[in-house]
């Protein structure tokens, strides 16, 4: 295999990986921060994608306008869900283990609920629309590679969102509070962080990010009510690779997974893709449950 073919392969892997990282950001915030393993993450992503599709096809609005709209809508939904379900769960659970198990069950319920509401309203068909489908030539050393413009756009926006979130968490006071909450919820309360306000807000932002991811994905891929579950699994794999709660880790993990899949698929065969990602997932969970990129081991 020539050098340029290698480069093209890795570039296509990186583009898919950027999308994976984007999908994982919201779940990472929710699980890393609040120990809510939101298994319904992919379903909310699907809601974002359907909202975008609906607005695009019925009003002809550019999907780019829907990025802030779906963020705001899903953030509101997230705050409402937190207020309805997880507030009571936090109050009644005796310890963190029980809270995690119950939160997982509530998320399962949400998954069934959301997925079927959407398929009841819009039906189970595959849908999609055309947006920036023309190919773009990218000069690589030793040749040229072609990628669809919408995938490149999604990749760029994924990097922007991941970068923005990392800056938000590192540089601002809000981010400092959030990181404190990740390290120790009780300690954070003791130094005067209002966890009762921060928790719903962060859950909402997590859902909002999944809405953004759905909005972006609908530009490049076809959508259907059952699209959520594979993305949830991908998001889980990515945050395990990167280490729970680490945004930089999620970005690196997503890119790595994309490259692994692209290279693996090239050398074996495309129907092994799902098998490959599960093998990566299970081996990381078994061998390095704290993530590939974390230096200190955290208590699992």
């Amino acid at each position: 295999m020539s050098f340029s073919a290698w480069l093209e392969l890795i570039a296509s892997g990186l583009i898919t990986g950027g999308i994976y990282a984007l999908v994982a950001l919201g779940l990472n915030l929710q699980y890393g921060l609040m120990r809510i393993l939101n298994i319904a993450h992919g379903e909310f992503l699907m809601v974002g994608a359907f909202l975008t599709w609906m607005v695009q096809t019925s009003f002809g609005l550019s999907p780019l306008w829907m990025i802030p709209v779906s963020f705001a809508l899903l953030m509101g939904l997230g705050i409402a869900i937190h207020w309805l379900c997880f507030r009571r769960l936090t109050a009644t659970s005796p310890n963190l283990d029980v809270f995690e198990a119950r939160g997982l069950m509530v998320a399962f319920g949400l998954m069934f609920l959301v997925q079927n509401v959407i398929s009841y309203v819009w039906g189970g068909d595959l849908r999609g629309y055309d947006f920036l489908t023309q190919p773009v030539q990218i000069p690589l050393p030793g040749g040229e590679a072609q990628f669809a413009a919408n995938k490149l756009l999604v990749f760029a926006l994924a990097l922007v969102f991941a970068g923005a979130l990392i800056v938000l968490l590192r540089q601002t006071l809000l981010g400092k509070g959030v990181r404190a909450l990740m390290q120790s919820p009780i300690g954070a309360q003791l130094v005067g962080i209002d966890t009762k306000r921060l928790h719903p807000l962060m859950f909402g932002i997590g859902l909002g990010l999944s809405g953004v991811a759905g909005c972006l994905l609908s530009m490049a891929y076809t959508i259907s009510p059952s699209m959520g579950e594979p993305y949830t699994v991908t998001a889980l794999i990515v945050i395990t690779l990167g280490g729970f709660g680490s945004m930089g880790g999620a970005l690196a993990g997503g890119l790595l997974l994309g490259v692994i899949e692209a290279v693996g698929m090239h050398f074996t065969n495309p129907s092994l893709k799902a098998l490959l990602s599960y093998v990566v997932f299970i081996s990381v969970l078994l061998l390095r449950p704290e993530g590939l990129f974390t230096r200190k081991s955290r208590k699992a």
Partner: protein
């Protein structure tokens, strides 16, 4: 009642239910029998799930893996082996897989365990579909030699009875106590001399054996199986949901919930399939939030508690709307200020 009387009561109830279920094909319609078959399948699956996962609080999502393994064993072995041996073989293969899987994952707890078992289920499903596609050259398998419908029904009934009887008996043995000890506090159980590794692996294998046997028995009902039907993660999810909604720590909870769900499924699924899934999700959320002990823990006190909660909530809303909360706060503030003055 003493513990012995409880044992006798439980066995008598089981005996009565069994007798009724044996008589069912004699008088009920074909539709009712097929509904009862689904119901029995979920009773066996969720009772055996609750036996290990409920008492130890290890949330396993691997039921569909064992179910599928059993189904495939039966699909391969049915032509050369008699029916009973096929079922036993399905149970053994599933248990063997569970021992291997358990050795790898049973040292992890909580969400890690749940996610890992789910990942392994999907891994097995994808591995088998890849194997079938590339080596066998087909996607699914057609089962040619199928036993009588009566035989299938009685086999699944037998498995359900075994599952419930096992959970009645096991909670009275040292093994059952060890499982409960692990659920309450694993380190303490270890300190008190329980070999947790062996106990956990044995419990996991037992659950898997029943799920495998059920899979082997149920596969012939479909006559055509492929990895997506028998390894359907939904089988695993629904087992867990039934056990949790019924009450994973209780004996009869999974059975009650399995009956409720089968009736709900058959009546709703035909008209509006989405509505069934929606109500499943909603019921799960409500039961986790308001009835964490499950349906079987429902007592008159539970209703009283709910009534008090609703009353308190209603007074809160009334106070808020009439401005009473605001006035109360003002009064308290004034009182505080007065205290500061003197």
């Amino acid at each position: 009642m003493t513990s012995r009387q409880f044992l006798i009561r439980d066995l008598l109830v089981l005996f009565g239910l069994t007798g009724w279920a044996v008589a069912l094909p004699g008088f009920a319609s074909e539709f009712a029998v097929s509904m009862a078959l689904t119901c029995l399948m979920y009773i066996a699956l969720s009772s055996s799930w609750a036996m290990f996962c409920g008492t130890t609080r290890y949330l396993s999502l691997a039921t569909s893996a064992f179910f599928g393994i059993g189904a495939y064993t039966s699909a391969i072995g049915l032509e050369s082996l008699p029916w009973e041996q096929v079922i036993v073989l399905g149970a053994l293969v599933a248990a063997a897989v569970a021992v291997v899987m358990g050795a790898a994952v049973l040292h992890l707890r909580g969400t890690y365990f749940a996610v890992l078992t789910f990942g392994m289920t999907e891994l097995i499903r994808h591995a088998i579909s890849y194997f079938e596609k590339s080596v066998t050259g087909t996607v699914g398998r057609v089962l040619m030699v199928v036993p009588e419908r009566e035989t299938i029904y009685l086999t699944v009934l037998l498995l359900a009875v075994i599952a419930v009887a096992l959970s009645i008996v096991i909670r009275r043995t040292r093994f059952g106590l060890a499982l409960q000890g692990i659920g309450a506090d694993e380190q303490r159980a270890q300190t008190l001399g329980v070999n947790t590794r062996i106990v956990k692996t044995a419990g996991f294998a037992l659950t898997a054996a029943i799920a495998g046997a059920v899979g082997a028995a149920m596969s012939v009902r479909w006559t055509y199986i492929d990895p997506h039907t028998v390894f359907n993660p939904f089988i695993g999810f629904q087992t867990v949901l039934i056990a949790l909604i019924g009450g994973a720590m209780t004996l009869w909870g999974p059975l009650i919930a399995a009956i409720v769900f089968s009736v709900l499924a058959e009546t709703l699924r035909l008209q509006v399939p989405q509505l069934y899934m929606m109500s499943l999700g909603l019921l799960l959320i409500l039961s986790v939030l308001y009835l964490p002990g499950g349906l079987a823990s429902l007592r008159t006190d539970t209703f009283k508690g709910w009534k008090n909660d609703i009353q308190a909530w209603w007074t809160d809303i009334k106070d808020d709307l009439s401005g009473e909360t605001k006035r109360r706060k003002e009064r308290e503030k004034k009182r505080r200020e007065q205290r500061h003055v003197y």
